[in-house]
Symmetry: C2
Subunit: 389 residues, 2 copies
């Protein structure tokens, strides 16, 4: 169902001939049919943000947007003025069809950095997608397929609230990072909300989802999360429930990204408890989650808690105060490290399930935080060394 689960939205995903994979759907359009045209957006903090990000950041600024064009097959990043011109013309094309201002259309692109898009293909793709716009299940699915790159699975979400709905789609598997990812996420809702409410919900939702995943510690030039609200349900939601629904949608999509981490064989919940504050917990969890040695150990079904300990030992005391002689580590429920020393026998740990739970107790306070990551496999290297060559 994806973006068409909420009322008031039409979508399409078409083969525009942008991707080098012949016959792959590579351009999606999502249109908000109202009555509201509320929007909120969160974008990459990367200083080399791509042309579509530069365009869309401005487009969503006034809190109103009619539609989004997303293409795979090219990131349109590091393409200078010519790239910005391409994003502008893409937005203008959909705006023309919608009889709207260009700034009421956002654009997102994903793929190789440093190359311009085949603009004529993009523009024809927009026209074609516009022809095929539909509010049905198939249209939502086509759009979700069209934004995929190295993704091996289509990733969508549907949340039913009290009289309102939140739907969405995301692409992303490699290059997923402490701060967003090569990730494009379009969320839709038919709740009646203001731009400020939408922005608040999206900000909170991304903080506890996309900003908590770490596949390979890289941060993309093109990360984009957009939430469109149509008001078509005519329901003004309880704002807590609305925030919760958006956060749930984000968390579901973030988990799907980790589950589709390039070539991964395990999903890992890296949880730090007993921290002095949440920042300390997350800093320690991130340090372990970004350790290649740890990720390789997990790929080899090895409950190597020494690599957990080495990693949290690199976090400065000023950020995460703790006493190394009090730290414990549980892997899949077995306390392999207790008080900074060996605990139960590591051979008791069953590493065969796909899901791995690592819980680190700093014994330094009451706060906690979790980072979701995956393991580092041969397959990751294969995918990312063969991406272009």
């Amino acid at each position: 169902m994806s973006v068409t689960f909420a009322q008031g939205f039409q979508a399409a995903g078409v083969v525009a001939g942008i991707s080098s994979h012949h016959g792959k759907r590579d351009l999606a359009v999502v249109v908000n049919q109202g009555p509201l045209d509320v929007v909120a957006g969160v974008f990459t903090p990367n200083r080399f943000c791509a042309a579509p990000v530069q365009w869309s950041r401005k487009a969503v600024q006034d809190g109103h947007l009619r539609g989004v064009v997303v293409n795979s097959g090219g990131a349109n990043a590091c393409t200078g003025q010519a790239g910005l011109e391409q994003s502008t013309q893409t937005a203008q094309e959909l705006a023309r069809l919608l009889e709207a201002d260009a700034h009421s259309v956002a654009v997102a692109s994903t793929g190789l950095i440093g190359e311009l898009l085949p603009l004529d293909h993009v523009l024809r793709g927009v026209d074609d997608a516009f022809e095929h716009l539909d509010d049905g299940e198939q249209a939502g699915s086509d759009a979700a397929h069209a934004i995929m790159t190295t993704d091996t699975k289509v990733k969508t979400v549907e949340i039913q609230g009290s009289g309102f709905r939140v739907g969405g789609m995301v692409k992303g598997s490699g290059m997923i990072a402490p701060q967003l990812a090569t990730m494009i996420c379009i969320l839709t809702t038919d709740a009646v909300v203001t731009p400020a409410q939408a922005q608040q919900a999206l900000h909170q939702g991304t903080q506890t989802s996309f900003n908590r995943i770490d596949v390979d510690g890289c941060m993309s030039t093109n990360d984009t999360v957009i939430l469109l609200a149509s008001g078509a349900s005519e329901v003004t939601p309880d704002i807590e429930e609305f925030n919760q629904a958006v956060a749930e949608a984000c968390a579901s999509l973030a988990h799907q990204i980790v589950g589709d981490g390039e070539g991964s064989s395990h999903d890992v919940d890296m949880t730090v408890i007993g921290a002095s504050d949440e920042r300390a917990a997350l800093a320690c969890a991130r340090a372990v989650a970004s350790s290649n040695l740890m990720k390789c150990a997990i790929a080899g079904n090895d409950p190597n808690w020494g690599r957990v300990i080495s990693s949290i030992g690199t976090v400065p005391e000023s950020i995460a105060p703790y006493d190394p002689n009090k730290v414990s580590v549980d892997i899949n429920g077995i306390r392999v490290c207790d008080g900074g020393k060996p605990g139960q026998d590591r051979s008791l740990v069953d590493m065969t399930p796909r899901h791995v739970d690592i819980v680190i107790n700093l014994h330094a306070g009451e706060s906690q935080g979790t980072i979701w990551t995956d393991d580092l496999t041969h397959e990751y290297v294969r995918i990312n060394s063969d991406y272009e060559s």
Copy 2:
């Protein structure tokens, strides 16, 4: 020649039965025969520093040391009071043989974290090594072999100064990090220097060598660099020349570590020029050098400058001010990115040589810095997922 290149040193490397690899030399002893017994040390900043590091940090504190015991086959890290007791007894054993105080002996260990050493094997190994102490070439080579773990090559250095010598050995290939590494380095010199001079030379030397390599961004619990000075040449060196010789020895060994990076197929010099200051240059170089995506691209002979750009884009402006529209990237001499946009055709880049030169010009100042790293290959994953299992 390794540690026996300088006059006044004896060494040995023996099979003590600590390593799980049957018949591998796994214990080395280096003894300073004077007339001086000067020492300097640099140790891991990891907060879970291993028992031998805790012991040795104190042992070198007064600037004097008679000998060092190094074992592979076990890190003696996260082993609590019992581990500290093992390091103490190991030092005491060599001290007894040297008729010296226990605090005039340092200890270093490398291998798996979280397990105690087979102490009887270690102590018998110290006795055996003491019996075999010799100042010849073979003894230096044996010692260098005994400290190896996943290293595929023995790593030694010999620097001839004006009337004095610096020799050394190092182990380390995986887990090599922004701040030192699972790296144990023993340097020897026959120059006449004070403890303060030795410490100054070693501090400078490590800053521009071991602290500038990044194989996988991990920082070990056991990193140890020790410089012993015997004064046996009776030459009081020009202090600049001495610092330079120690720095050269460190740089050579650091390069050898990168060249032996676990399973690597390329060595990479990641150089940032045109930076506002050295800190900015190194922050940008480290950001790229620690990118798994970049490392995979290089393994695939792919001059993917988009991944260079993405990585420097993650460095905050407060640390490295630059204008994204002015940045250029040269890979093996080809300017693939110019002014933040595509430059020469990437197909012009020859990625077949083992050595890869990446030069990033921020056009924001006159400072520069280089980080040495390697690529991320299938072989890295294999070595590090099979290490224990």
